[in-house]
Every structure is written in structure tokens, then in C-alpha cells.
Symmetry: C2
């Protein structure tokens, strides 16, 4: 038995997200499984480090699958590169420890959220940015980001109302980078709840516009309430940058 | 009478080039003219600094049009930004001297040609790069680029076999930039013949692969022959960066 670990980059624009759906191949997982199933001439199921939503991108998604085969990781990589569409890129394929599980073994993840803070057009990166031309108070956003760092109950930042597991996550780093007209949030945590990154981005954008104070973050941890957090920022600005094990 | 000068950026991927065609609106010029014609409620013709081919991009295309109107340049800009598709961006609109003509007044242009020199995927910039994974000898390419600089008869680098005007152009600067897996050609000249930039890129790529020597450039100027120059590199790596007046 072999355990193949894939490192993937994808432009999520035209996909309904990572997770395979029934009778619909427009998912990243579905596309990759369909190519692997042809290579191995049997159904292949891959495990991703986590789901990404429709329209969300990845620069460093990790997935794995187990297979009893003589096929080498180089051959898997070459086959995938040959048959996958050009918006799904295979950075590497390697054989790894049989116990490696891309979701359960993950220790932390880094997501980026990119905001285009200008009325000027950005035709070349438009698929990867959320356009938000309103003036933003970066210092207030910075304060809000600092308030999000640490171990907290992030249920206010979760779109899944029936979430049953522990909503406690630890944000280790929340960086705000500004480069010309772009503002980028770079967040590293030991895990992210459903839509957590996009709701945090929306909340910080509301703070940046002066619609709310950065001090409103803390109470969201104490009495969790999705409605009291900010809006869910659009998917296209979000990118899974890295998964660490 | 007013003369409006437009500074434009566009992703040329889905267009049949700059120049308006009959019964077909999938050209950059056609799209812009159709929006302007609605604004002014009469047919508007714009002049571009030059045509770009199907699939070629622009970060700094300049166009202009004359109009007897009370409408301000700010209003023209806002209207265009509102109604143009998001792959055509209006950077600025300003009123300029009535004698300004975006093509005839142009003094020099800078084009970039981007090569992705890797087997690794680049999913996010795939529309703006030509993938060329073969090992390339950058020093030989550099030598070839130096041989192209200066005032020469560039007819060997022109796809138009029936070109009647002077084929002499002056390349003022030909820079080769290497950044990770990308190689970028940045060329400034007082003008470019049809496909000149793409044929120069193709010729340099052949030099880089060792299929020809950099010394083969000079004879191309002395006895012009399109067939003796390199292949026409794909459109998608090409971008009109700037037009100077």
C-alpha cells in the first residue's frame, strides 16, 4: 500500500468548491478523483486538508490517497499534470508515511484574504481580489486583527448554525499587509470554522469603514452570535496559502 | 470640441484583438465604442495607439476620440467603468490638446513578453504567461537581445509579407528579467512592426534552447527574410505596457 500526498494550487473561480458533489464534476476534488480513477482504472477517493468554498482559491492545498499500486509518485504527478485542466495545478506528488492523513494530521493553516481598495481597475487579478473601494482605516483594522489573535470561541464567526463540535480555535498570527491599492489579511490558525476567514474579513472591513468599533470583537467571543459579527466577505478574495503538519 | 484621452488596461484573453471588426463586438475597440456611443447617443470612433492582436493584453494602452459635448472627462470615466466588462479597465480619462492623436503622436512604446520557464503550474497567471518549460540559456538570450538593440530593418521580424512602409525601427532598450521561474522580456522601441515583438521573443527562445546561435540575428537585418527568424511566440505572453508621447 502507498500513501500519495499531493500539493495543489487552484483557481477556484469556476468551481463549486473543493468537495465532490453527486452528479456534478465541477468540484476540485471531483476533477482530481476523476483523473486518478482513469489512471488506476478503479474509483479513487482523495482526502483534502479541508474544504474550500465555491470560488475560493488555493496556493497550497494538501490532499492524499492510499493505493495498492506499483505506479510511482512521479508517474502520478505527470498523469495529473497532463489531464487536469489548467486551473488546477499539481505542485508535487510524493509518497508519504501510511499514517499521514491530510485533514487529521494538519497542525495549522494559513489563509490570505485580498482586498482591492481602489476605484482603479485591476483587470489582471480581478478573480483573486475583492473590490472594496471605500476608504479604510488601516489602524482600526489592525486593532481589530489584534483582538482576533489568540484562543477564542469563534462561533460568532461561523456560518454553520448547527455546529456541534468545539468552536474553539487559536489564531497564531493575523497580519495586515498593505501594498499599493491592495490590503491583504494573512491569518494562521490551528483550524478554521466554516466561513470563519470570510466573516473575520467582513468584520474587519466594517471596522475599517467606521461602521463598527474594533472593541466590538471581544464581546463576540463571550456571547457568541453570528448576527453580531460582520458580513461574509466574498469568496473570490480568499486563498488557502499553506497547510502545515 | 473636446479631445478625450483614455488610459486603458485589458485582459485580452477572450477578445479578437483591439481593432473593431464588422458584425462582431468581441474586440476591445468595439466594446469601448459601443459604450461611448450609448453615452453620447451617436456613433463614436476611437483611435488606439496601435492594434493589439487577439489574446494580447495591455497595461497601458492609450486611445482618444474627439467629441462636441458638455460631458466631462470624469463623467466619461465613470460611465465607461460602469458599463465596460471587468476585463477592460479604464485607468483614466482626461481632456487633452485637440492635436493629440494616440497613434500619430506616439513617440515610443514598451511591450513585455512573459515566459513561464518551469514544469510547475502557475494557475493564477496562466492567461498572461507563455509556458516554456525547456531549460533556457539566459546568457545566450541576453546576447541575442543585445544584437536586437539599435536601428535596424526589422522586416525579418514582421508577419505582414506585403508591408509597404519603412521597416526600420529603433529598439532603445531590451531588458531580460528573471524572477523565480519567470523570464520577462521588456522592450522599448519607437515602433513595432506586425508581430515583431512575438517573433523576437520566439527567436530568443530558440537561441535559449540552443536551436540557433545569437550570431544569427545580425544577418536577419542585412538580408531580411521572415522564414529565417524564429517562430511567432504565443499571444498570451504579450502585454502593451506603456505608450510615451
Amino acid at each position: 500500500m502507498k500513501n500519495f500526498r499531493l500539493l495543489l494550487a487552484y483557481d477556484g473561480s469556476r468551481y463549486r468548491g473543493w468537495q465532490r458533489l453527486t452528479n456534478c464534476d465541477l468540484t476540485i476534488q471531483g476533477k482530481i478523483e476523476s483523473v486518478l480513477s482513469k489512471l488506476f482504472e478503479e474509483p479513487v477517493t482523495i482526502v483534502g486538508s479541508g474544504r474550500t468554498d465555491a470560488g475560493v482559491h488555493a496556493r497550497g492545498q494538501v490532499a492524499n490517497f492510499w493505493m495498492e499500486t506499483a505506479v510511482s509518485s512521479e508517474e502520478v504527478c505527470a498523469y495529473l499534470r497532463r489531464y487536469l485542466p489548467e486551473d488546477i495545478g499539481v505542485i508535487s506528488v510524493e509518497e508519504t508515511d501510511l499514517r499521514f492523513h491530510s485533514r487529521l494530521s494538519a497542525k495549522e493553516k494559513t489563509y490570505s484574504y485580498r482586498v482591492w481598495n481602489s476605484t482603479l481597475p485591476n483587470v489582471f487579478e480581478r478573480r483573486y481580489l475583492t473590490v472594496f473601494p471605500e476608504p479604510l482605516d488601516i489602524k482600526a483594522i489592525q486593532k481589530g486583527a489584534e483582538a482576533l489573535i489568540g484562543e477564542h470561541n469563534f462561533l460568532s464567526f461561523c456560518s454553520n448554525k448547527h455546529f456541534k463540535k468545539s468552536p474553539v480555535r487559536t489564531i497564531k498570527d493575523f497580519r495586515i499587509e498593505q501594498c499599493d491599492q491592495e490590503i491583504r489579511f494573512l491569518v494562521t490558525a490551528n483550524g478554521f470554522l466554516y466561513n470563519m476567514m470570510r466573516i473575520m474579513a467582513g468584520t474587519l472591513l466594517e471596522i475599517g469603514m467606521g461602521q463598527r468599533e474594533w472593541q466590538t470583537i471581544e464581546p463576540l467571543f463571550i456571547s457568541p452570535c453570528r448576527e453580531k459579527a460582520g458580513f461574509t466577505a466574498p469568496a473570490k478574495g480568499l486563498c488557502l496559502e499553506e497547510v502545515r503538519y
